[in-house]
Symmetry: C2
Subunit: 404 residues, 2 copies
């Protein structure tokens, strides 16, 4: 007997017809021996509609009331899916977060699930019932509705898998799994069968949208296996597993890219102790996250060029902040480039495979792709390239690291 938590995203529940199909899918999965707990997002588009409404009421819509408003989305889809299952002859009911209850802590709109009662739902599971739980929401310790941030239904599903000691957690979505790179960018992209939490976290933070990072983190901390798969296909998807359950045939698992970056270079900075701190202090104070940093020392050692990258939508603010400190740090000139992209190779297998960095740089050099900046972690190497070279870089790396 297995106990499984399965979660359906908004696109899987985007219409009455799709909800009916999801009910059929669940019915087919449900055998006498398996226990299924279902977690749902709001129907596609609904959360955005509600946010639009809230903006028309107030620019500073009360955060607690926003949670009351947004919570209606998953309440609706929970009822609709539960009723569709009942219509198909299954035993089912919706369990709203305050009925379970699922208790959260932290501020409204950005709470964190930390406790759940399991008694009533466990009884219901034993009686053959299929509980439908609205994702993305809970109640605070004073029993007000809370939400856990956009995309939070994934985190709800993994947290519920933890509280109910589920064997694994299936995330049904509109893609067939996690790919070696974005299939829209490269036709040779292939579905990854198995991947580690760390790899998926690197890929997620580097621009591959698969699952909410906090959901993966909860799974990693609690050793919960996740299966990301498509609602619209019967194919197996991608399993996200602990390291121990993986064997790394390949040193590189996937390639991510992001086009959200911009580069700023301060030319002719007088090189003296503490100058770097003076440059990055105002950025930090203004919540601007600096990603990559390069410093080129001038031949005489008296001047230096400092290059850093930031999110593209923070470029204007960053330039302004650098202009503010121009006299203080005494640089000659500021240049910037917002036509850069970050391409990253990710793989837990890197740790045991020497020469990956060399191979990456060589591959790009052979293709005449200039590397503007580099950053690395244990399981990823990122390079900054001209934006127009993104696609070419991905293709070459995909081939050279045997992902084609």
């Amino acid at each position: 007997m297995a106990r499984v938590v399965i979660k359906f995203g908004g696109t899987s529940l985007g219409s009455i017809e799709k909800i009916t199909n999801v009910a059929s899918l669940i019915k087919k999965k449900k055998t006498n021996n398996d226990e299924i707990i279902v977690v749902v997002s709001a129907m596609a588009g609904q959360t955005n509609d509600l946010i639009e409404k809230s903006k028309k009421i107030s620019k500073n819509y009360d955060k607690a009331e926003l949670d009351v408003l947004l919570a209606t989305g998953e309440q609706m889809s929970s009822s609709l899916l539960s009723a569709a299952l009942i219509d198909q002859g299954c035993k089912s009911r919706s369990w709203l977060s305050w009925q379970i209850p699922i208790i959260t802590e932290g501020p409204h709109n950005a709470s964190r699930i930390y406790r759940s009662n399991t008694d009533e739902i466990s009884k219901f599971l034993k009686s053959g019932g299929i509980p439908i739980i609205p994702g993305f929401q809970g109640v605070s310790n004073i029993f007000r509705l809370t939400t856990i941030g956009r995309g939070g239904s994934d985190a709800s599903a993994v947290a519920i898998a933890k509280f109910f000691d589920a064997d694994f957690c299936e995330i049904y979505t509109d893609v067939e799994g996690v790919y070696t790179t974005n299939p829209n960018m490269h036709s040779q992209a292939k579905k990854i069968d198995k991947i580690s939490y760390e790899e998926i976290l690197e890929m997620a933070s580097l621009g591959t949208k698969i699952m909410q990072a906090s959901a993966v983190q909860i799974a990693m901390l609690n050793n919960i296996s996740i299966h990301v798969r498509s609602t619209f296909s019967e194919k197996e998807g991608t399993k996200i597993l602990p390291d121990a359950k993986l064997d790394y045939e390949k040193s590189v698992t996937g390639i991510s890219f992001s086009k959200n970056d911009a580069k700023v270079t301060l030319i002719g900075v007088k090189d003296r102790p503490g100058v770097a701190a003076k440059i990055f202090e105002p950025l930090g104070q203004n919540d601007i996250n600096v990603d990559m940093v390069i410093q080129n020392i001038s031949p005489d050692g008296k001047e230096t060029d400092v290059t850093f990258t930031i999110k593209r939508d923070q470029l204007d603010q960053s330039i302004k902040l650098m202009n503010d400190i121009k006299t203080k740090i005494n640089y000659k000139k500021l240049v910037y480039d917002d036509k850069v992209a970050k391409v990253s190779i990710i793989g837990a297998g890197m740790i045991v495979s020497p020469g990956i960095t060399y191979k990456m740089f060589k591959s790009l050099a052979d293709a005449n792709i200039n590397i503007i900046a580099i950053s690395t972690s244990e399981i990823k190497i990122s390079v900054l390239v001209n934006e127009e070279k993104t696609s070419e870089a991905i293709k070459i790396l995909h081939k050279n690291f045997n992902l084609d």
Copy 2:
């Protein structure tokens, strides 16, 4: 200091702009000394939208899940109105039925509010807060969401006025109050300033849509004064009060009509004991409510014609049932007419004014309007007329009973 419950219907909350206007109206009413509890319906059209969705999922949508679905409507409007008030500088919050809690009994979709906690909201009122409570819903004793039937927000408001010992209950709607008759039917219709519970109940049941009958009944049982008025006008509306607070200058307060009726006549029924019971038994068994009954004895006393009226949409079924018992009760012929209307005069003053019945019949006879059937209660007289005579009958009665 007064404590008031004010309720806004769906048309008053039909758009973001209208919700903002309602917030301004509430803010204006709120003085330091007054305590205001607000009850809201769902935004106009929303409950119908949700019902449409439910019908697409299942013809037998689970009743408990339907309540979960429908409850989202008032949850949304509660949040939006509360946030609009906060935006305008008021202290406000939504209190969902399970947070208060408002406890109901009876089946899903048709529950009845019977208990409410008042502690937290009373504290909130004392602190100057304006609580917004979703109407139409509550929770059962096992804490599942329930609804109290369509239009039930009126009943919610009156029940909350009772639990919180409010001085009165204001029902804000899209009309300026209760009229002597339908203004669309007769240009001389006038707003009634004060009316008794009994009168409004007779008018409601006879086809004047003002307030849900169950709401008036709760008010009557608990002596709660109601003020029906328009959200879109500052004019005083109609006060619904106990008899004792009214003086009846006029014997007739208002004129109602309904065009939902149909008439069936069984001709040549053999007149023997128990025959009426045999006719009405199958109708009762099939939940068909017989309204008026007339029996004409034939000159020789051996045969009789039996006429009765029913709701027009139950005519086909009634004819079928009568055909089924044709041999059993041995009547000659069945005729029917679905072009009949019921016109009623209502007035608590009738009890002390003799000759009202005569005056009504005389008025209609003078105008050559044939009375097909009659039924009376202590405070109303209804007559069945040809549907095409409805408007004329209303005009004559409105004039002759000094309502013009």
